[in-house]
Each structure stands twice: as C-alpha cells, then as structure tokens.
C-alpha cells in the first residue's frame, strides 16, 4: 500500500492504495466518485473513460500510480452545471437509454470536440469506436456530437 495524492476535478485527494490498483477502482471505491463506470476491465468498452492531463484514457487498465501528479477529470468534473456542449447536446437529443455507458461516451466525445471544431463522420468513428452502447444509441451519439460542435462554436463566439 502506498500513500498518494490524486488531483481529481481540481481537488486533491489523499489515499492509500495498492499502486497497481486501476485508476477506475480508486476513483470509485476510494474517492467515492461513482459516475465513472466499470464495463469490461480490459479496455474494450469505454465505460470507464476519464481524462488524464486532457487525454481520454481507459481508467480500468490505467494504474492509479500513473495518475499521480497529473490532472484527472471525471464526468462529475466535466462541467459545473451539466452544461458542457456534449452534455447539452446529449440532453437535447435524449441520447441515453439506460445510460450506463454515457459517462464514457461523453468523456470520449469531449476530447474529440476539443481537438476538432468540426468533426467529420470519420473523426467521430475514430474517436467513438472504442465505446460500446448496448442500447444502440449510436445514431443519436453521432447527431449529438455534430450538435455539440455547433453549440461549442456559439459558446466560443459569445465568450
């Protein structure tokens, strides 16, 4: 067991953990943030995606020790008021059905939207192919990313 400090959503969390514990379980069980989900444990489904220094990573296969000294952002910290362009677009198009995978979907989409102001279909395929949705909301995810890109441009203009 090692004592470490994680910076999650802007706050410091000091915890004692097995350095090999995946970041996913540290976030869920030790820090108590439950929005990041366990889906497969082998980086196949994307339910556990969080941002590590701005990159979309699979927290189920990322050792907690790798996150030390870096900025971790989870779905809870993506925006203050559930109003990141991706969150707004997801709400406007009623994307989720049972909703379990969408923390990961939105976190993957958020990185895509930061990197591409106008994501093409191919960009969306590349960024989102790692996220499984068993409800099959894929058509809406694609639409929501396009809508989020529009919302994002408006925000930038206004800002």
């Amino acid at each position: 067991m090692t004592k470490m400090t994680l910076k999650i959503n802007g706050s410091d969390h000091t915890l004692e953990a097995d350095p090999n514990m995946p970041l996913l379980w540290a976030i869920r069980d030790l820090v108590g943030l439950k929005g990041t989900k366990y889906g497969c444990g082998v980086a196949q489904c994307g339910a556990c995606v969080v941002h590590l220094d701005g990159d979309a990573i699979r927290s189920c296969v990322t050792k907690v020790s790798r996150a030390e000294g870096k900025q971790v952002v989870t779905i809870e910290g993506l925006s203050k008021n559930n109003d990141h362009p991706a969150q707004l677009a997801w709400q406007q198009l009623d994307v989720p059905q049972y909703g379990y995978c969408h923390s990961g979907q939105i976190m993957s989409a958020a990185v895509l939207l930061r990197e591409k102001a106008d994501p093409t279909n191919q960009d969306i395929d590349d960024a989102m192919a790692g996220n499984i949705c068993r409800c099959g909301t894929y058509l809406r995810i694609r639409k929501a990313i396009v809508l989020a890109a529009e919302l994002q441009k408006k925000t930038v203009k206004q800002g």
Binding site: P22, I75, D94, A129
Partner: protein, 723 residues
C-alpha cells in the same frame, strides 16, 4: 424532479408534518381490467396495498409513486406523461419515486414483456382524471359554483365565468389538497380524445436524461452503505457445477481481504456454487478471486459443445413430430405427398444479454431482516424467492430498485440478489457483490439457441400447406415444470391472421433440454422464431415466383396489416429497385405490436455486404412518446444486427468460452446503418414498443441478401464480410 426511494409509510409520515395531503392510487382486486381507484388513506384503513399513486401536497408538489423499474425504456417518463395528461399538471412539476419491491403491495412489478404501458395506460389515465375531477369539485365547492364552470390547467383550477377571460379566478392544486382529500373518487368523468392530448403522443424529452449526462444517476454498483464490503465470486464455470475444495492461501496475501467463503446461488431447480472473496475494495476482491485455486465438482450433468447441441436439435427435428401448438387441415399429409415441397432447417444461436452494467447487487442482512439494493427487473420475485429459500418472512425483506444499466430480460432472474443475500448473512455485514465482465459473459442464463424445420407446399401461387417445428430450450417448460405441454413460446412472432388463410397449417414444439440455464432476452421467442417464420415466408414467395410483399398481402385479410405493408412499400421505394441493390422484408408480431421492416443491401468492392438502409414501420396502436419509440426501435435494430451478424454464445466442454468483448464482438458506432422509422397512427389498443422491432431485422436482412445474391442464409450469426 427527483429520483428517490422511500417507503410509503415514511412518505406519509413526512407529509403529515407539512400538513394535509391529497393522495389517490389504484389497486387491482383481480386483473388489470377492473382496477379500483381509492385514496391512500382509505387504502390504509382497509389494509389495501396500492399499485401506484399520486400524491399532492399543500405546496402543490406532485409526486408519483411508480411501481415499475427503469432500465432505459423510458418508463420513468412515460408514467408521469400519461398521468399528467389527465391530471393537468406541468410535467416539470412532477416528482417520481420508485416503489420498493413488494408483491403484495404493488402486484407484479416485473418489468418485462414490454408490458408497462400496454397493461396500465388506461388505469393511469383514469387515475389522473379521477384526481383532476376531485380537485375541480373541491374548487367548485369553495367558490360555491358548479363544477362544470371550472377547468383545470397547469396545476390550477380556473373558474372561467368569474373573471376576465385573460385572467380568470383560479386556485392552485396545493390550496385544494385538504378539500379534495375528503371527497370520494368520481365515476362520471370523460377521458380526453387523442386529438386533445397535450403530452401523450408528443416527443417530450425524458426526465431522467440529465442524471445520465453528469454521472449522478445511481445504478446498482453506485450504491454505498456505511461499512459496506465488496465481494467477487469465482463460480463454477460449468453452468450447474459445485465446489469440491479450494485453496485460498494466495488470496489472503492480498491487502484488504476480509473473508473467503463458499457460497451458492439459485439457478432454476439447482444451485451453482462458488467461492466469494470479500474485501475492502472491488479491486482487492477481484484480485483475491483471481488468486484462488479451486477444484470443481462437475458431476451429474452433461458437458456439452455447441456443435453437439445443434446436431441433436437437427436430429430431433428430422425424427420427432413433437407437440402440436396449432394444427388445422392436413399440412403433414399434403407435405408428405408433395414432390415439390420445400423442407429447410434454420439455426439461431444462444445469445448473451450483455448489459453494459455487469450483474451486481448490494445486500444487508441483520437479525432476520434483509434489505437489498439492486438493478432488478423483478423485485417482487426476488423478495418471494429469497423469503422461501433463506427462510426470512417476506415482510422482513425490502428490495430497493436502482437504475438498471440494461436489463433485456437478464435482470428478471434472482440468482445475483440471492447470492448477495447469502453472502451478507454469512459475513454479517453489508456487501456489494460485483460480477466481473467475464462472470457476466459466461455464466448465463442465456437466450436459448433454437433450430427450426420448416416445410411448405405452394399451389397456384399461394401456400397450400405450412409446417413448422421448433427444437430448443423452452423457458416455459422450466418455469412451469410442464415439460410435455405446449405453450405460447412456439408461435411468438407469427402473424395470427395467417391462421385464417393458410388452411393446412401445423405449428409444433419438439421438447429439447440441456443443462444450460436459459432466460428471456429482448423480444423473447419472437427473436428466433421470427427468423424462421419470415425467412421461410420469403422462400415460399420465391418458390411461388411472387413479390415478397405481394405474397404476404395475398395471405393476410387484415386491414391494419395491409396499411402497414402499403406504408412499407411506399417509404422504402420497394418498387423502384435499381440494379445492384437487394431488397428484403419481414413482418412479425411481438407483444401486441406489429413491425414490418425493409432492408436494402449492396455488395462492396471488397466483396462484403453493406446495409445501405433500414426502414421500420411499427403499428403499436395507442402510444405515449414517439421519440421514446424511435429510440427503442433504433436500439432494437442495433441489438438485432449484433445477434444476426456478430455474436453468439459458444460452448465447449460445458463452458461458455467467449469471456469478454474482445471475442464477443458487439456492434459499434462504425457498424450502424441508417434507420428510417414510421409509426402508424391509430387508436387501437396499446402494444409494446421496447422489443418488437428486433425480430424482423435478421430475416429482412438475409432476405435482402438472397435478393441480391441468390444465396439463402439459414444459420445465424453470419458474417457480412463473407457471404
């Protein structure tokens, strides 16, 4: 809008502090056809347990206790939408509380069979209307005017004649709570016509979506109790196996391990055994589980391979007549005598439900009292079963529903809550049992894989004789114990109007068993039967040399179905097929809803088949929210696509061998064809919407491939890359 779980008693207690409440609910003395609407106070007096109720406080806050669980199909929104329509309140002012599992109190809470809306919509409309009428009566009484001069809107009662038209005299519902609560529910009210609806039939946004975009929705695994431990269980990998012995010396070397115990969980008429590792984090429990060395006892049941299962099904279909579900005319005789009969076998695979949220359950047992928190479709059965098996009085078991991260039938089963309860009782602490994806993917229960033999004879361009036999695990044989009795599973998916026109018809069930536990899967038997029925209908049409849609029309004397087929033909451009395009169709019935689909395919330069377009026409009768329906249809097509072209559960030596999404390939965003959806508009009885779009997809696709290539696909799944 909130998402809470409290008991009715707590709720009444809390409300009593704040003043009077007006509450009205319904219960079902017999069937859903004779629901009684009464006040909650009256129900308390007579000891009647209500199924659902509306609760209005003096503040005007409206709460609906919903007795169904939410698993993504929109019940969370549909029930308030229906009640608010007649109650005349704004949807945003409604709070929803999930009721706790209790068979006696709520009647069956099993959320399955696309049943919530189709069974209860009329009762819910009446419940809303009764409450509205009582509020109108209360307002009329306080003003000393006739009720007929008053109307309700947006949570207020207005008296039109007494004020200016633009600002009539009004009272907020909260102000009427006390007076309304003293009235008797009326019988003489009129429900709105569909054309008058403001909420029902409109594509309103779902109320639960915001919780699902910021991580605040509480799914099973997100529940935390003070002092809660985490458990992972290494269960016998064979589906009915036991534990002979185990060595946990390596497990105990992992920090955080608290208990290692032998456990069992129910699997229909047997128990499966395993070793539970209980620790202070999910990760430690999973590591401890991996470190176990277990010797299994796999005696007493067969260790089957997939190949052997299908060989036996085929043999059964070639040698046994089985049980008759429906027999009319002389189907067998005509087929035996015919030199031109078609005689083919279709095979459909075992399927895994693959909920993104793996099975999990939280339980706390203390001194003869058990509380459970979990994602379950079937809280009352969980309560009933555990009460019997663990000898705990039913009223001492509370089942709390969380959001479900997918159900699809899997979460109607009681194995995982049972196991959590067993572990908590043994360790005397609250525990959350988390299944790994590997546990979830390999341990079942699964959708049964079924083979079908279809035989038919065409005469003068029409079906002269039709014979259909299924051989596969029939869940009703397990559940009812009646292994030699036919049941409705056999004909699920089939359009009943064919019974009138196909004079020589035989539908049969050849009983077939394996030790593999099987369970409902989205659209149940229609999901496999539909492939056989509608593939064969296409083969018969081809044999008759007729257009597949015309051929179906010619065998259906039913106006609704003709309208559906006309719509399919029009929207899909069926008659404008171009060179290099393949068109296929299928129509099935499921939970009182009929769905017709048309699929268009073409061949790519690399030889693979591309699905260019899917058209879906659904006739579900009266419906609530077209956007929810569209979402459910899109999801059904994607799930059907996976089951038809990507995944199956394969068994080797009695074990399911695909352990994770690396080999159990799921559809991804890159695989999804464009889907165009049309909902038929009529006022017919409401059918289900969550499942019925799945069954026609596979046969419409394979029929389209036949149209393009001349090749019949009779075994699922198949690969689009190598047709």
């Amino acid at each position: 809008m909130n998402n809470k779980q409290v008991s009715r008693r707590d709720f009444l207690k809390a409300s009593a502090v704040s003043g009077a409440v007006f509450s009205l609910g319904f219960y079902l003395p017999g069937s859903a056809n004779n629901a009684e609407i009464i006040s909650v106070a009256e129900a308390e007096n007579y000891g009647i347990e209500l199924n659902a109720w509306i609760h209005i406080e003096t503040s005007g806050k409206v709460t609906i206790f919903s007795h169904r669980s939410e698993m993504g199909q929109g019940v969370y929104q549909a029930i308030p939408q229906i009640i608010a329509e007649e109650l005349e309140v704004n949807l945003a002012d409604i709070h929803v509380v999930f009721a706790k599992g209790n068979l006696k109190r709520y009647g069956s809470q099993n959320t399955g069979g696309s049943s919530t809306i189709r069974e209860f919509y009329k009762i819910l409309l009446n419940l809303g209307a009764s409450a509205r009428e009582m509020l109108l009566q209360a307002a009329a009484g306080s003003w000393g005017v006739s009720k007929s001069e008053c109307y309700a809107q947006g949570g207020y009662v207005f008296h039109k004649p007494s004020g200016r038209i633009e600002s009539p005299k009004r009272l907020h519902y909260g102000q009427l709570v006390e007076a309304a609560s003293k009235l008797t529910p009326p019988k003489d009210y009129v429900l709105k016509k569909r054309s008058e609806y403001k909420l029902v039939g409109k594509p309103l946004l779902r109320l639960d979506t915001p919780f699902k975009t910021n991580g605040t929705a509480v799914f099973g695994m997100d529940k935390v109790l003070p002092g809660m431990l985490y458990a992972a269980v290494e269960r016998n990998p064979r589906l009915r196996g036991k534990v002979k012995s185990f060595d946990d010396s390596q497990t105990w070397k992992i920090p955080g391990i608290k208990h290692v115990i032998k456990v069992k969980m129910v699997v229909f008429d047997t128990y499966r055994e395993g070793i539970a590792v209980v620790a202070d984090s999910t990760w430690a429990a999973m590591q401890g589980k991996k470190a176990l060395k277990i010797e299994w006892d796999d005696s007493g049941f067969e260790h089957l391979n997939s190949e052997e299962i299908y060989k036996r099904q085929n043999l059964a279909l070639q040698t046994q007549e089985g049980l008759s579900f429906k027999s009319q005319g002389e189907a067998s005789e005509i087929i035996s005598a015919s030199a031109n009969k078609i005689d083919v076998v279709y095979e459909t695979p075992y399927q895994y439900h693959g909920c993104m949220e793996p099975m999990n359950c939280t339980a706390y047992y203390q001194e003869d009292k058990l509380e459970i928190w979990g994602p379950t479709q079937n809280p009352d059965m969980v309560q009933e079963y555990i009460s019997k098996d663990m000898n705990i009085a039913k009223e001492k078991i509370i089942v709390n529903l969380t959001f479900l991260g997918g159900g699809f039938g899997r979460k109607s089963f009681m194995d995982y809550p049972h196991e959590a309860a067993v572990i908590s009782r043994q360790i005397k602490a609250p525990v959350q049992v988390v299944w790994t994806r590997e546990d979830d993917a390999t341990q079942g229960p699964f959708r049964p894989g079924i083979s079908y033999r279809c035989e038919g004879v065409i005469k003068d361009g029409k079906i002269d004789a039709f014979k259909y036999r299924m051989a596969g695990q029939n869940n009703m044989h397990w559940l009812t114990g009646k292994k030699d009795a036919v049941n409705g599973s056999t004909s699920e998916g089939f359009l009943k109007p064919y019974y009138e026109t196909i004079k020589n018809l035989s539908i049969r069930d050849v009983p077939f068993a394996t030790p593999i536990p099987t369970m409902w899967w989205r659209s149940v038997y229609a999901s496999t039967n539909g492939f056989a029925f509608e593939s064969f209908m296409d083969e018969l049409a081809a044999d008759a040399g007729r257009d597949p849609l015309d051929f179906r029309r010619a065998h259906l004397n039913d106006e609704r179905l003709h309208l559906l087929i006309d719509k399919m033909e029009n929207v899909s451009g069926w008659k404008d097929k171009k060179k290099g395009e393949g068109y296929g169709t299928a129509i099935t019935e499921c939970f009182s809803t009929t769905v017709g689909e048309v699929v268009k395919v073409s061949r790519q330069a690399d030889g693979s088949i591309k699905i260019d377009q899917v058209w879906v026409v659904m006739d579900c009768g009266w419906y609530v929210n077209p956007d929810t329906i569209r979402a459910q249809i899109e999801g059904s097509i994607v799930m059907g696509l996976g089951a038809a072209t990507m995944h199956e559960v394969r068994f080797i030596d009695g074990k399911a061998v695909d352990t994770n999404f690396s080999t159990y390939q799921m559809p991804r965003i890159t695989d999804i064809p464009p889907i165009q959806i049309h909902i038929m508009e009529n006022d017919e009885v409401a059918g289900g919407v969550g499942e019925p779009a799945l069954p026609p997809f596979a046969p419409a696709l394979t029929n389209a491939i036949f149209d393009l290539t001349g090749k019949r696909i009779r075994k699922l799944p198949f690969s689009l890359a190598s047709v």
